[in-house]
């Protein structure tokens, strides 16, 4: 194997094989099934639908890497979107200026980060199970949103926000650019910074990390705060896409984000997994959904197929390890 390929392999990691194979399979299968599949229209629609799910999956990914889970992602995004919406309404609704929008975005990020911060503090200091902590946070945030909006939706935003959800730069949709920026930031954080290194280490063995003198509480709190902030970005994008905010928007994405992370090779127990394979897995999910749409099936069938895809990838991984007798204990986690 030439050194370039080796370097490339170490760069993207062994987790890449599954999502990449799935991507190729999906493109080939639907390419044959529907002549219209391999068109710019398909990829255009994928590019517009990808960001919401993608940003939420990024938010889900960091906690999973530490061996946790953040079930509050969708409703944190909602509440952050609501924060932005109220800020805009406060400054005159449709007449609000760009300054109000920027202030609203900062407030939304702060609210998202705060939600993550609370989860992080409780998880770090009480050693309660993250599933449970984030679950109660989810119930709380959903309730808060329902209480404040009475279940209705909020709309009436200035027109200059719409390009953020629908516009494109040089043919690339702006939401996709935001997602790509998110992926890049996450990649750099995880691969190049001390925080990223500690995140992986905590997912592998939190006690060992603690004994080696690292402030694990600080890392856990930071991870959940970052996760909350990423939810806020998703919330802002969702606001500009739908041009309205309602508690429950994107609620059905919650378990799909977990699915996307696992499909992208993130270890459920934490410690292993990279951003790029998750990104590819997301593309696979959206391509599947668009492809099924093209051959006349609906979104619900796509949901079912996503589930089947996750199961088959897991089964294939099991088959692969048992056929080659390679000891993949590390990536298998059991």
């Amino acid at each position: 194997m030439s050194p370039q390929i080796k370097r490339l392999q170490s760069y993207i990691g062994p987790e890449m094989a599954g999502p990449l194979a799935a991507l190729i399979a999906v493109i080939i299968i639907f390419g044959f099934a529907s002549p219209r599949f391999l068109s710019s229209a398909t990829f255009g629609s994928v590019a517009f639908q990808l960001p919401e799910l993608g940003l939420l999956s990024l938010a889900m990914m960091l906690p999973i890497l530490t061996g946790g889970l953040n079930l509050a992602v969708t409703f944190t995004a909602n509440i952050a979107g609501l924060t932005l919406a109220w800020t805009l309404l406060y400054f005159g609704g449709a007449d609000a200026g760009p300054g109000a929008f920027i202030a609203g975005c900062f407030l939304a990020l702060a609210v998202g980060a705060l939600s993550g911060l609370i989860i992080g503090i409780v998880v770090a200091y009480t050693k309660a199970h993250p599933i449970l902590v984030s679950l109660s946070m989810m119930i709380f945030v959903r309730g808060l949103g329902e209480f404040l909006t009475r279940g209705g939706d909020i709309s009436g935003f200035p027109a200059f926000i719409q390009p953020l959800g629908h516009g494109s730069v040089a043919g690339i949709p702006i939401p996709l650019l935001v997602l790509c920026a998110g992926v890049a930031v996450w990649h750099i954080v995880l691969q190049k910074t001390k925080l990223g290194f500690n995140t992986y280490m905590i997912g592998s063995n939190i006690e060992a990390v603690r004994y080696s003198g690292i402030n694990t509480r600080k890392v856990v709190i930071l991870v959940y705060t970052l996760s909350g902030a990423m939810c806020a970005v998703a919330g802002i994008i969702m606001l500009s896409r739908f041009n309205s905010v309602r508690v429950g928007h994107g609620e059905s994405y919650l378990l799909i984000t977990v699915l996307a992370c696992f499909l992208g090779g993130v270890n459920p127990f934490g410690g292993f997994g990279k951003v790029i394979p998750v990104f590819v897995a997301l593309i696979v999910l959206q391509l599947l959904s668009s492809g099924l749409n093209l051959i006349g099936a609906n979104q619900h069938l796509a949901t079912a197929v996503w589930g089947i895809l996750l199961l088959s990838v897991m089964v294939l991984r099991w088959v692969a390890t048992h056929l080659t007798f390679i000891n993949h204990k590390k990536s298998q986690g059991r």
Partner: protein
């Protein structure tokens, strides 16, 4: 007595909280401490308690299940169709059909978990999407209102007219719930299988070396949850008198929160039926009391979420550490 309190700290704490809520409410409102309200509480919590005791078994065995609520929706739908096809049936046939389809769904999860060594949260998130996606795709989201008469007629087992003329009644869901609770209690604490499930959840490798049949444990735990969710699905159809494909969607996380609030540990090996029932009842009592106090229903979830969050924080940070005098009475866990 002290020993009992120490070994059942969660249950005692939950009972304490419920008594406090109960006392405050019976003073604050005249409606809370009536037979009618208590019976209402039981009738409305029946479905969630059936789900909860089923989930408890899976949690004790060290697994987790996200798919049971949508599996119950699928069971509901299939059972309703099957009953229409055989032209009616009765409660026994309904429960047998719903129960066995439920078990099949549970076994499907267990099959992947055991034979392909995929951890349960991954499998059940996948099956969650498969069941729900297929159900919505195949039914196009159409509800069934045309159910057999026996299924939609409320069955009143016990009724009582209080002095002011209001009727209070215990209905069939409560009885079925009691049956499920007792059966689960019996399974966990009175049978060898139950002890093996606890041992397996606590330490799978240790259990394997003891000669416990690991495959059987997985299939029994998930099969039991399947059975319970099948029954719960049918009871839900009876209670609301219709079958709506996405009615139970989203219930799984609420039930999970309630079960873990009741002292079951995510990760296995610990949990009691009493705690789990109290966990569900605490949440519905809170909801009920907020309702009686005239708090807007939009605020329910917010307050319940805050309560669960506070409960987790307090129980895990150790009440004995916050209140040093308590620590002499031993580890309150």
């Amino acid at each position: 007595m002290r020993k009992l309190v120490n070994s059942h700290a969660t249950e005692v704490a939950l009972l304490g909280v419920m008594l406090v809520i109960g006392m405050v409410l019976s003073l604050a409102t005249d409606r809370f401490f009536t037979l009618g309200n208590l019976f209402d509480l039981l009738n409305t919590s029946a479905v969630n308690i059936i789900f909860a005791v089923g989930l408890l078994v899976v949690l004790i065995s060290g697994g987790i299940d996200i798919s049971f609520a949508v599996a119950a929706s699928a069971v509901q739908y299939i059972t309703a169709l099957a009953l229409g096809w055989i032209g009616g049936g009765n409660w026994a046939i309904g429960l047998i059909i719903a129960g066995s389809i439920g078990i099949l769904f549970g076994m499907f999860n267990a099959f992947f978990i055991h034979y392909f060594r995929i951890i349960s949260i991954v499998v059940t998130i996948a099956t969650f999407n498969i069941y729900f996606g297929m159900l919505m795709f195949l039914t196009s989201g159409v509800s069934i209102y045309d159910l057999p008469d026996w299924l939609v007629t409320p069955v009143i087992l016990f009724e009582h007219q209080s002095t002011d003329g209001t009727w209070s009644e215990i209905t069939l869901p409560t009885l079925i719930m009691l049956g499920c609770v007792i059966a689960t209690w019996f399974l966990i604490s009175r049978t060898t299988t139950g002890r093996q499930i606890i041992a397996f959840g606590d330490n799978p490798e240790g259990a394997r070396r003891f000669g416990i049949n690991i495959a059987a444990m997985q299939f029994i735990a998930f099969g039991w949850l399947g059975l319970m969710s099948g029954i719960a699905g049918l009871v839900q159809a009876h209670y609301v008198q219709e079958v709506v494909p996405n009615a139970l969607y989203g219930r799984e996380l609420d039930v999970l929160a309630a079960v873990v609030l009741g002292g079951a540990r995510l990760g296995g090996g610990r949990g009691t039926v009493l705690g789990c029932v109290l966990g569900v009842l605490l949440i519905s009592t809170t909801q009920n009391s907020l309702n009686l106090m005239g708090v807007s229903s939009y605020a329910f979830k917010m307050i319940i979420g805050a309560i669960i969050l506070a409960a987790i924080t307090l129980s895990n940070s150790g009440i004995e550490r916050l209140l040093p005098t308590l620590s002499k009475k031993g580890e309150a866990k």
